[in-house]
């Protein structure tokens, strides 16, 4: 890669929001909404990646580790029950080693009919610095591990701790994955340029991610709930003309805390009752887009 290629690696074509042909979601819904729980495992004593530090304190970082462990002992079920109550399946961003460490959590998600995509092996093992063989190894490990644990074949990727290499997107497309959650350039699915096969980006979200809500923007639980409702209201309104996607990315150890889960459950109730939302899994959104809109987006109408 030369410097010009590095400055713009050519991930996608520029396509302004105005004058796009409209996406019509199944049932004539205006906004496709998907919930993305991150089911993660953070190691207590991970090896060091030369390009990124994991814990801020010498191991064990008790406060950090225990906070994340709360997901797998308490808050996963709290979050999942609220989702199930209002009819929201999860599309899981999975640290695939969770299949070994806490199979009970993965089984619970699978039994609720949730979809799994890979979020790497652990959220404490970063892709930075891997060569191609190493990156292939974690993709193959992900496919194999999730298949063995759940019977599902992963269709998407969210890089572990959002760490990529310039070859990640080409590789996941080569392995037949359908979507990436790592690109934040749009409110609709978009084709991604890859060397072989096909790939689309599905809008995930950093901005309304619970981690950003609580630890970047320092919102109270009720402010975060209000943020989700505003995001939903706007995307549902615009979706009348364009067809939009809204993602709610979650971490049980954040949203499943006792002071946060109540206001959040109210958001789910509101969206479920509103009627304009197609409540879907990431793979269903990808299927609809590939079937009806991908060719036009790539080749023109």
């Amino acid at each position: 890669m030369n410097e010009a290629q590095k400055a713009d690696p050519g991930l996608y074509d520029f396509a302004p929001y105005r004058d796009r042909s409209k996406i019509v979601w199944p049932g004539d819904k205006k906004v496709a909404i998907w919930v993305a729980p991150n089911l993660e495992y953070y190691e207590i004593d991970p090896p060091t990646n030369p390009h990124r530090k994991s814990w801020t304190k010498p191991h064990p970082d008790v406060a950090g580790y225990a906070h994340r462990d709360h997901s797998n002992r308490v808050s996963h079920w709290r979050m999942a029950d609220a989702m199930s109550k209002y009819g929201f399946p999860g599309s899981v961003s999975l640290s695939v080693a969770l299949c070994q460490h806490h199979p009970e959590v993965v089984k619970d998600a699978n039994e609720r009919g949730w979809e799994f995509f890979s979020h790497g092996i652990y959220n404490t093992r970063y892709t930075y610095g891997m060569d191609e063989a190493q990156e292939r190894a974690i993709i193959e490990d992900s496919i194999r591990t999730v298949r063995d644990a759940t019977g599902q074949t992963i269709r998407g990727w969210l890089a572990p701790a959002l760490t990529h290499t310039p070859r990640t997107l080409d590789l996941i497309a080569e392995y037949g994955l359908d979507y990436t959650c790592d690109l934040y350039h749009d409110d609709q699915p978009q084709p991604v340029k890859v060397q072989s096969g096909k790939l689309i980006s599905i809008p995930y979200s950093l901005e309304v991610n619970d981690h950003y809500g609580f630890f970047v923007y320092n919102m109270s639980p009720r402010e975060y709930a209000d943020t989700l409702l505003r995001q939903y209201e706007r995307l549902a309104e615009e979706g009348e003309m364009s067809g939009t996607v809204m993602c709610i990315p979650l971490h049980a150890y954040l949203i499943g805390q006792p002071h946060r889960i109540g206001p959040f459950a109210e958001v789910l109730r509101h969206i479920a009752e509103d009627g304009r939302a197609w409540i879907a899994r990431a793979g269903e959104i990808a299927d609809h887009y590939y079937e009806h809109h991908y060719a036009e987006a790539v080749h023109g109408a």
Partner: protein, 304 residues
């Protein structure tokens, strides 16, 4: 360029944790807990009472709330002292007003320097939890084991000398432990510690020490100092938490709402009213059992 091949090896990828400190379980799969008198939510008031030397030692790290300016940092030293001289007495009065007992997580230095404060805590029937020596007494894996053992012993000795009772519970500064801490606390005869906020009920380390989780997400430090929310918002969040836990307790057994309070944060004149209002609201809830850490551990242990 490639990473060291060991970076793609996972020797602790196995069922259960990647450590042997404690076993896994889901709170929703355990035998439900019942609190005394048919109450369903134990409200645990835990106040950190701290003395910050004006000379931070940073071994192994600087405690949250510690000195920030060049020496002498009169600003932060005295603002923390305000909490102990003034704010803490507002809290004691607030507890009296609703007739509740709290756990006071006190540095040993509070006993050494201000025995009157310890006497006032004891007179009101509150529990004292050992909370290190002073705010230079942080713990982490770079602290030599002998130093950590001495720190624990000194903290306990200071409190016992003045209060007449050896604390049953331990809270580390910033909930930070070394690999050795659960073993050293057990060796020192502690019954429980509060550092691991990974659960909402007590659980046991492999060595038998009980962990009573003191949720940092619900602390005044996190909500008011770190996230910069108001005291009114804090109080609302605690009531929302209580109401959710009370509902959950209906189908899954007793729950705990830990309120972790810092005198120099919550007991300022413009915030204390919101906190008093919160106590009054919680006291009026029929599900509330105000309990100290030790009372919660006693009740829980009796049901295991």
């Amino acid at each position: 360029m490639a990473l060291d091949p060991a970076y793609l090896e996972y020797p602790r990828r196995r069922e259960g944790y990647d450590h042997d400190l404690y076993p896994w379980s889901s709170i929703f799969a355990r035998k439900p807990v019942a609190w005394p008198d048919g109450k369903s939510v134990a409200v645990w008031l835990c106040v950190s009472l701290e003395w910050f030397p004006m000379t931070p030692s940073d071994t192994p790290f600087r405690a949250p709330g510690h000195m920030q300016t060049s020496y002498p940092d009169y600003r932060h030293y005295t603002a923390r002292e305000y909490g102990t001289r003034v704010g803490f007495y507002r809290l004691l009065d607030a507890f009296r007003k609703v007739g509740v007992k709290a756990s006071i997580a006190a540095n040993g230095a509070i006993a050494d320097r201000y025995p009157q404060v310890i006497a006032d805590i004891v007179a009101d029937g509150h529990e004292i939890i050992a909370h290190s020596t002073d705010m230079n007494g942080t713990i982490g894996s770079t602290l030599p084991e002998d130093d950590e053992r001495a720190l624990i012993a000194q903290s306990l000795a200071s409190i016992e000398a003045v209060s007449g009772k050896r604390p049953a519970g331990w809270l580390s500064i910033a909930r930070s432990e070394s690999w050795n801490t659960p073993r050293l606390l057990k060796e020192a005869g502690m019954r429980y510690a509060c550092d691991w906020a990974n659960d909402e009920l007590p659980w046991r380390f492999a060595n038998g020490l009980v962990n009573l989780p003191l949720n940092h997400e619900l602390s005044d430090r996190q909500i008011i100092t770190v996230q910069q929310q108001s005291a009114d918002s804090y109080a609302q969040q605690m009531i929302d938490a209580f109401d959710w836990l009370a509902k959950e307790a209906g189908s899954h057994g007793g729950r705990i709402l830990p309120l972790h309070i810092t005198p120099y944060i919550m007991a300022l004149p413009y915030r204390i009213g919101a906190f008093e209002g919160l106590l009054k609201t919680l006291a009026a809830r029929p599900q509330t059992w105000f309990a100290t850490g030790e009372e919660i551990v006693n009740s829980w242990e009796g049901q295991q």
